[in-house]
Amino acid sequence: MNDFYVPATPTSPEIDFRFSSNTLGIRGESYPENAAAFYSDALRQLRTYLATLDATHVEINVELKYFNSSSTKILYTLFGMLNDCVNKGNDVTLNWFHDEEDETILEFGEELYEDFGQLNFRPTAVSAA
């Protein structure tokens, strides 16, 4: 299937789903006016893609600085889908990038891992450029 790409805006992240190379990326900030509407295409594509997988290694790189509560709910849906796909015989590595001083984002990643333990969670501290 075709790769899926949405460029970042000040209030919504870049979504870079390279299904062809099993590499997914979300990067930026997420507080769109209507998070459900913003993510609906991406989630639909992802669901279709995940249904085709068989014993595949998927890598997802997440580098978010800020996301509001409605985006949080969408992220839970998204990681839930990835978690389920591990249960179907695939493996998923979640590279969770956060600023080395950003405890808020790190804690959120850890919470996600508590809920979606099938993901291979790799928190990665990024030092200031």
Partner: protein, 424 residues
């Protein structure tokens, strides 16, 4: 027919016209017929120094537009006057100017002008009624009109949000009065991001204590404010003398109430056929609720009973030691994903004289700022509370606000903020 173009659109134009159209920017203009000469065109341009485009009309119908600078440049070349002066004025005329019907809405007109390219913005365009020439319109007047319409729309929206804020604030009055008459030393820092917002607080005084709630509804702005009023009136309805000491039960009751009233119940047989349609539909349904911290404080025993939905409580003990964070449950109230029968837990905290308790929504800890452009964070908030806790609460508020503003700096506000604190 020879009036000068008006300098600007009269102010009344917008007030009298519900749907502004080309008539609102219609200008009188000198015109020529194709039988007239370039010499006559030259005279008109000289007599009307502000005229940019001169329409040529034949039997009442426009056939073209003469652009001043193109015309003048053409005639300025050697011997051109001698050759062209007595010839028809159609020689240097643009034969395909933009022509619009007088009833064309300003919005449609602006698209037509943009599509026509630089020409229509610079030269203007011809306005007709049933195909017959009635006047011209200028790009500048069109832009002016669009700006006015935009400003007026903004004004109407902002006025209506301003009044929504009056309603949202007046619904807080009884809580504010309750706090003022019950708590000796307290503060609330409440700042909706967009005039109104999804953060709210609630306070109710009883004979033997008080019930306080701080909550963060989904969304901000107007949709967030709708949710706060739904939640606050639900809480007003749910909280009684019987359940006042059981904030967890109050959360559970509100959860059921919100799920039912907003229809956020996953229907039986709502199974996923596997093609993603069921889930896609689910994602578009309302999935709204709130994060909240509810507390009952018995003012005789100083025991505080706290229940939290993704909202912790921060405690300072007798101005000593670290600030403790007491976490509630990680389940929000009313969301589609929260089970109908979910039970939150109560935590009892024995307060001592001089202890301070604080409740914050995620607005402050999640705000982006600082040199690194990262979240404010709970650690920074705890440090700030620790270093100012000996101050009267109103002074703590000011110090925290100042530090928070300084951290936010030039970054935009991401969310509504609420921070409530009281000293025992």
């Amino acid at each position: 027919m020879l009036a000068q173009p008006r300098p600007s659109i009269p102010d009344i134009a917008l007030k009298t016209t519900a749907n502004p159209n080309a008539r609102d920017i219609l200008l009188d203009s000198p015109i020529l017929s194709p039988a007239q000469t370039n010499n006559e065109a030259f005279r008109i341009f000289t007599d009307h120094p502000q005229l940019i485009g001169l329409p040529v009309v034949e039997d009442g119908r426009p056939i073209g537009l003469i652009n001043r600078s193109f015309f003048m440049d053409s005639l300025a070349r050697p011997f051109r006057r001698e050759i062209f002066d007595k010839k028809s004025c159609t020689a240097f005329m643009d034969e395909s100017p933009l022509i619009v019907e007088i009833g064309t809405s300003i919005q449609d007109l602006s698209f037509l002008v943009v599509d026509a390219g630089k020409k229509a913005l610079a030269d203007g365009f011809i306005i007709v009624e049933n195909g017959r020439y009635v006047g011209i319109g200028l790009g500048l007047d069109l832009v002016r009109m669009i700006s006015k319409m935009q400003a007026q729309k903004n004004h109407i929206v902002m006025e209506s949000i301003g009044y929504a804020s009056v309603i949202q604030r007046s619904y807080l009055r009884s809580s504010r009065d309750g706090m003022a008459s019950t708590l000796k030393d307290h503060f609330v820092l409440w700042e909706p991001r967009d005039v109104v917002g999804g953060d709210y607080y609630y306070f109710s005084r009883f004979d033997d204590g008080f019930f306080v709630g701080v909550f963060d509804c989904t969304g901000h702005g107007v949709p967030g404010a709708f949710m706060t009023l739904i939640m606050a009136s639900a809480l007003d309805h749910v909280l009684t003398h019987e359940n006042r000491q059981d904030p967890a039960a109050v959360l559970s009751t509100m959860n059921r109430m919100v799920k039912v009233s907003l229809g956020q119940v996953v229907e039986q047989g709502d199974s996923d056929p596997g093609d993603g349609t069921a889930n896609a539909e689910k994602e578009m349904k309302s999935d709204d609720g709130m994060d909240a911290a509810f507390c009952w404080v018995n003012t005789q025993t100083h025991i505080m009973t706290y229940a939290g939905a993704r909202t912790p409580i921060l405690l300072s003990r007798n101005n000593e030691g670290d600030i403790d964070i007491i976490e509630g449950d990680r389940q929000g109230v009313g969301y589609a994903g929260t089970p109908m029968d979910f039970r939150w837990g109560n935590k009892e905290i024995a307060l001592q004289k001089n202890d301070c308790a604080y409740i914050t929504t995620d607005g402050i800890p999640d705000q982006i700022g600082g040199e690194r452009g990262i979240a404010f964070g709970k650690r920074r908030l705890k440090e700030l509370l620790r270093s100012h806790r000996h101050l009267p609460m109103s002074e703590q508020r000011n110090a925290l606000k100042e530090a928070f503003y300084a951290y936010q700096g030039a970054h935009t506000r991401r969310d509504d903020i609420t921070l409530f604190g009281f000293r025992v």
